[in-house]
Amino acid sequence: MASGAAPYLVVEEVSKAFGTVMALDGVSLTVAAGEFVSFLGPSGCGKTTLLRAIAGLDPANSGRILQAGRDITALAPAARDFGIVFQSYALFPNLTVAENIAYGLRGPAWPKPRRASRVAELVELVGLTEHVRKFPAQLSGGQQQRVALARALANEPGLLLLDEPLSALDAIVRLHLRQEIRTLQQRLGVTTIMVTHDQEEALGVSDRVVVMNHGRIAQIGRPEDIYRRPANPFVAGFVGRSATFIAWVEAAEGLLQAGQDGWRIAADAARGMPRGTRVEVFIRPEDVRLTRPGEGGAGSFPVTVRHWEFLGPVCRLTLAAGPQRQLEADLPPDAAHALGAMPGAALAAEVPPERVLVFAADA
């Protein structure tokens, strides 16, 4: 977010309860004009509820929402300025593609010729020119998605809201469409919020990601920050893959000890923590460097390959580092063959101290 300009959207301490369930619990965030922000979190964490509160479809119980400097908290959806794409798309099945897109273009500001040219412009924009006369049921899922997008953009809203826009599509279409949405968003410069439970999607297209858990915000940050510098164990565990275990700080210079066997690992993040602090450690598979036994550096430790999984571009190895500890390591198949990393093989592993994620564990 550009620090100087006033944010386009401000959400302040917004809470919402459904009966006894706190779907949103004091959520605050800001979105800059033209920014692409994703709400990411497990199913049921309140992403949709937050999006709908911003839209005014399910108003919040408390808190304040400002858009473009205007307090919109109490406004009906029709009095706000946004376009939305629903998870189900909610296209009107009995109207054609053109009629769906033109649905909100009514009133004296939209005489017929202007409406027609706007629709033509929009179908061109989403690449559906030859399908304008079709009904939604005659389109593929991806095409329906584009109609929904065009419909939401028709009125040139200041804010575009997308609720799991890609979740109903198959993997290849998903990848393609998410890039298309991003390109379109950058071209139009429209401030966009996308809800998703797919971290790859969120990290791939967003300027910033809002990670949510149990109705609260766990972390807000750029995709790289979320991934490399998670603010808490939830984000570390939810975003990306990692092996996790409990350890204790052995020396204030950032040395951790885990288990009875005296297994040690250096971690920059543990520097300054008092000796004896109980910590949760997360290690991502791509951060584990493997070498032949005895060829590793000073911080290396012996591991045994337990399991070998071929994922295409990489192999994922499950490693035993001591009797109870398991790590995972990703490496290209060729490198794995070169190392002789077959189940049962003994290797040496090393993790750069700056890559070990450490969080003080409660109690």
Binding site: Y8, A33, R52, A55, G56, L57, A68, G69, R70, L75, A76, P77, A78, A79, R80, D81, F82, G83, I84, F86, S88, A90, F92, P93, N94, L95, Y103, G104, R106, A109, W110, F135, P136, A137, Q138, R151, A152, A154, N155, E156, P157, G158
Partner: protein, 570 residues
């Protein structure tokens, strides 16, 4: 189009905000209209009925005196007992027959299923008086088959049960067909994979799967029989039942207080049945998962042939009774002169109103269909989608299901007591077409409401949210999207209201005026006057109208589909 400010933000015109508030007000106002209709047409009359049961003739408080009189009058108590066992006997006959008939339609490869389905529905279109009149032709004092009854009279329990079986059969069969059709084929595949025999599969999969349907069907039949007035009136002879008792107390003895008491007694089994049925429906819904794989039967001679014979038998009885009534209506003098004539259709000779009563019925049913459909569908939409659920919403939701538990006769009686009350300014409505239409719409409200709700719930729940985000008022989206998509259901509702209003006797018999006597009441009067042939002719005329309406619906269904359901085709 909102204008863009210099700083790039967008301002909505103030008019847009006012319009939003106006729309919400409009939607809320709609619910209040329905609330007043249901208050005037259901709640207040029933409350009056309730109060009157505790009053004496002069309007003083009588406490439980009327009830005391009721339980100490043996004939009244006997009528209640009669109603119960007649209903139980009919249920015991109809439900198994309906089960196997529906089984043949849904679980076999019997030929001519479409035909059997059509025949099954015909009794719905006829007034309940029609089978009773046909039975009089066959088994009455001059009946051709009188001997078959071995000296017993058809006027009484035998005739009532036979006629009720005809009248209730389609209701039970429809419920059973739905219950049997919505099964999950995977249960059968699993049972077969486990090598269960046919008998075992039937006992462990088919019957349990249909058990809530069986409960629903039994409950519906039982209530229909207890609350039906036309059949015992025509063929009951001196055999007293609850429904005829209400009529006798009110119309014969002018004892409105005792009428109210009997009405309340009649309400008891209906309410019990209503609660039981709701329980069964809830259970049944819970047993169905959204991803059920439909069951497709495979041909098997040993099953299909006996079922075909069975269905032929049932269908010929249904069609036969109708045929006898139709034939009887064109016979000069049953059974001595069987030459054909249309004299019986010259209704003016038998009843002062003549053909006008049929016209009254058509106008009444037409208005009930049009106004009722608009009211019921709009209300269902408002409750489901139009407004935020509030207290008024939950009250209305409940009130909409109540009419199912109120027998027509009780509703009619409640109407007289309420509208004839000297202090009621609405009394001017009494005897007009308006009160008949109001009564009919309320009487048949629940089924129509549930049809509308089911249709609306099948639509994407985000339509209204999508429309709000596009700044289009919800009612406009209802008109442009919801109504066209629900048109088949809307037609169903209209025809349902029309047919039922055409054929009902029980509610309207208390409410018509000198110029507004419906055809179904004319049937009762002509039968009372001993003009059985004319009564049959009028009943057949009613059937002619309802059948035409149904055929019209089927005929237009294709047109409607072409015009509004194009989007369904892929």
């Amino acid at each position: 189009m909102p204008e863009t400010r210099p700083d790039g933000t967008v301002a909505l015109p103030a008019a847009a905000q006012q319009r939003v508030a106006g729309d919400a007000l409009l939607l809320r106002g709609g619910l209040w209209i329905t609330a007043s209709v249901l208050a005037i047409g259901l709640v207040l009359p029933l409350a009056t009925l309730f109060v009157r049961a505790f009053e004496d003739r002069d309007g003083g408080f009588a406490g439980l005196e009327n009830f005391g009189r009721y339980v100490t009058t043996p004939t009244l108590l006997a009528a209640a007992g009669n109603s119960l066992w007649i209903a139980a006997a009919t249920t015991a006959i109809v439900v198994p027959v309906a089960f196997f008939y529906a089984y043949a339609l849904t679980r076999s490869c019997m030929p001519m299923q479409a035909l059997f389905r059509t025949v099954m529905l015909i009794p719905v279109l006829a007034p309940s008086l029609l089978p009773a009149l046909a039975l009089v032709y066959l088994f009455g004092n001059q009946g051709m088959l009188k001997g078959l009854l071995l000296g017993h009279s058809v006027y009484g329990p035998i005739g009532i049960v036979m006629a009720q079986c005809f009248y209730c059969f389609p209701h039970a069969a429809i419920i059973m067909a739905v219950a049997l059709a919505t099964t999950d084929a995977r249960f059968y595949e699993a049972a077969e994979a486990l090598r269960a025999g046919r008998g075992r599969i039937f006992a462990t999969v088919t019957l349990p799967g249909a058990r809530y349907g069986l409960v629903s069907a039994a409950v519906v039949v039982f209530t229909l029989v207890v609350t039906d007035f036309g059949i015992p009136k025509v063929i009951g002879g001196q055999f007293p039942v609850l429904a005829t008792d209400v009529y006798k107390q009110v119309v014969g003895l002018q004892d409105f207080n005792m009428g109210a008491v009997v009405g309340l007694v009649l309400l008891l089994p209906a309410i019990g049945a209503y609660l039981l049925d709701r329980w069964a429906q809830g259970k049944r819904a819970a047993t169905l998962s959204g991803r059920a794989v439909p069951y497709a039967p495979r041909p098997r001679r040993q099953r299909d042939l006996p079922l075909l014979v069975f269905c032929l038998g049932v269908a010929s009885v249904l069609a036969g009774l109708l045929g006898v009534a139709a034939w009887g209506s064109v016979i000069r003098f049953w059974p001595y002169n069987l030459s054909l004539t249309l004299d019986n259709y010259d209704f003016a000779r038998f009843d002062a109103a003549g053909w006008d009563s049929l016209l009254v019925s058509v106008r009444m049913a037409g208005l009930a269909a049009i106004l009722g459909t608009v009211l019921i569908f709009c209300t269902a939409w408002l409750l489901e989608r139009g407004t935020r659920p509030g207290r008024l919403g939950s009250i209305l939701r409940f009130a909409a299901t109540l009419p199912l538990a109120v027998p027509g006769l009780v509703l009619g009686l409640a109407f007289i007591l309420f509208f004839n009350h000297p202090a009621n300014p609405l009394g001017v409505l009494y005897g007009t077409l308006a009160i008949l239409v109001l009564n009919s719409v309320v009487h048949f409200y629940t089924v129509a409401h549930l049809t509308a709700v089911t249709a609306i719930r099948q639509l994407d729940p985000e339509f209204e949210a999508a429309s709000a985000s596009l700044k289009v008022p919800a009612w406009l989206t209802c008109w442009r999207v919801t109504v066209p998509m629900c048109l088949p259901a809307i037609l169903d509702i209209a025809v349902y209201l029309f047919v039922n209003t055409m054929t009902t006797v029980s509610a309207v018999i208390f409410l018509y005026g000198p110029d507004t006597k419906p055809a179904s009441v004319a049937v009762v009067h002509m039968d009372e006057a001993g003009q059985a042939s004319a009564a049959a002719a009028m009943a057949v005329a009613i059937l002619g109208v309802t059948l035409s309406a149904k055929l019209l619906q089927l005929g237009t269904a294709r047109l409607v589909e072409r015009a509004t359901q194009r989007w369904r085709r892929r």
